[in-house]
């Protein structure tokens, strides 16, 4: 069985896995990082979204062996050492952007990537389109969109530019 080494939430990890093991299975079953969820089997729902080398990916559609040498960040790794929340987590709470919490970790990981890759600003339309890969059945997305818009200034340390209509 393949041996893999990678970094997960800043810590080096080695594991022996079957070649068919998915990254999400490595995280949940071997590393007991159960914050990353599985909500579908057709790569649609995005509940399993984590960051691999800074890019948000669906960990149910990536083999664990493909993460060899990579740096993986999961929802568990977002909380600061002093226990304080990442601005995206904080804004999700502030704006009631979660209900059952199941899609939340993937939604937060995806949202962080969306904000990080749009330093020029984000319109509501861009946020909605940018969430194409994440499904939520509880919130109707309204408050998720609000939370992401609210996190943008905190993550970029400046006011969110108002999109010219």
């Amino acid at each position: 069985m393949p041996q893999i080494s990678l970094t997960v939430n800043g810590k080096p990890v080695s594991a022996t896995v079957e070649a068919r093991t998915l990254l999400v299975e490595l995280l949940r079953d071997k590393l007991h990082l159960t914050g990353t969820h599985v909500g579908c089997d057709t790569s649609q729902c995005g509940a399993c979204t984590v960051q691999v080398d800074g890019m948000s990916v669906k960990s149910c559609t990536m083999l664990a062996v493909q993460a060899e040498g990579a740096s993986v960040l999961t929802i568990e790794g977002l909380v600061n050492a002093d226990g304080s929340l990442h601005p995206m987590q904080a804004m999700f709470r502030e704006h009631h952007a979660l209900q059952c919490g199941y899609c939340t970790p993937g939604m937060v990981m995806s949202a962080i990537d969306l904000v990080e890759t749009h330093p020029e600003g984000l319109s509501e339309e861009q946020i909605r389109h940018g969430l194409e890969g994440n499904l939520c059945r509880c919130t109707g997305y309204h408050n998720i969109v609000k939370a992401i818009a609210a996190a943008w200034p905190l993550m970029h340390n400046k006011a969110l530019p108002v999109a010219a209509e």
């Binding site: 070649a19 998915l22 089997d41 669906k58 149910c60 559609t61 194409e132 890969g133």
Partner: protein
Amino acid sequence: MYDFTYAKPASLADAAKALGGDVEAKALAGGMTFIPVLKQRLNKPSTVIDLGALGLSGIKVEGNKLIIGAMTTHGTVAASTEVNKAIPALADLASNIGDRQVRYRGTIGGSLANNDPSACYPSAVLALGATIKTNERTISADDYFQGMFTTALNPGEIITEVHFSIPEKAAYAKFANPASRYAMVGVFVAKTTAGVRVAITGAGQNGVFRHAAFEAALAKSFTPDALNGIATPVDEMNADIHGSAAYRAHLVGVMAKRAVAAAQ
């Protein structure tokens, strides 16, 4: 998923050897289609050959050619300054494939090798008359696509690059399947010195195809109105729970006009 042996060869030669020597071996590019297929146990490869270490990723412009490495992801194409300058329609197409997570991993080579009848890239490759370079040869787009999920690739043959001639004008218009967001109808129009080509993905019963009647009309006048009254044969269209053949034939016309308008 059935278990398999995993290999990540460091050279194209090794990858070709591994794939060529074992009919049960399968290549893994971005995996965005292949891994879900494996998860459903619809495929049972002996070995999965990861093409990720072959150095096949990259974008460059050489003369009138835009060259994209086979392992270049959709996200990279969408964000590329070179692509946005040379063929903005291609960057636009790439920016609407799947979702952001999928675009970080899905590749142009993987998409073309799979030739899903509702994938976006085949329409661009066919309309732009691109050539597909493999470890063995160069294949023209017209020869490459041979019906849904079928291509001119030999067993074990690996796409390395796609060469696009830079057109005068081009655009892609996609009507997404409401559920999967794959192309229900995607129309890529391109105007080059050699003429106008129109390729349609998603709609046809046999994968991506060129629309001769549209091409002839647009060659005379590259305007949306030039397409007025030109029908698309309904009996060559797909039908499923998301739309009838007649609806798809109609959408082909609508999306073609929108693409032409966007290409102005």
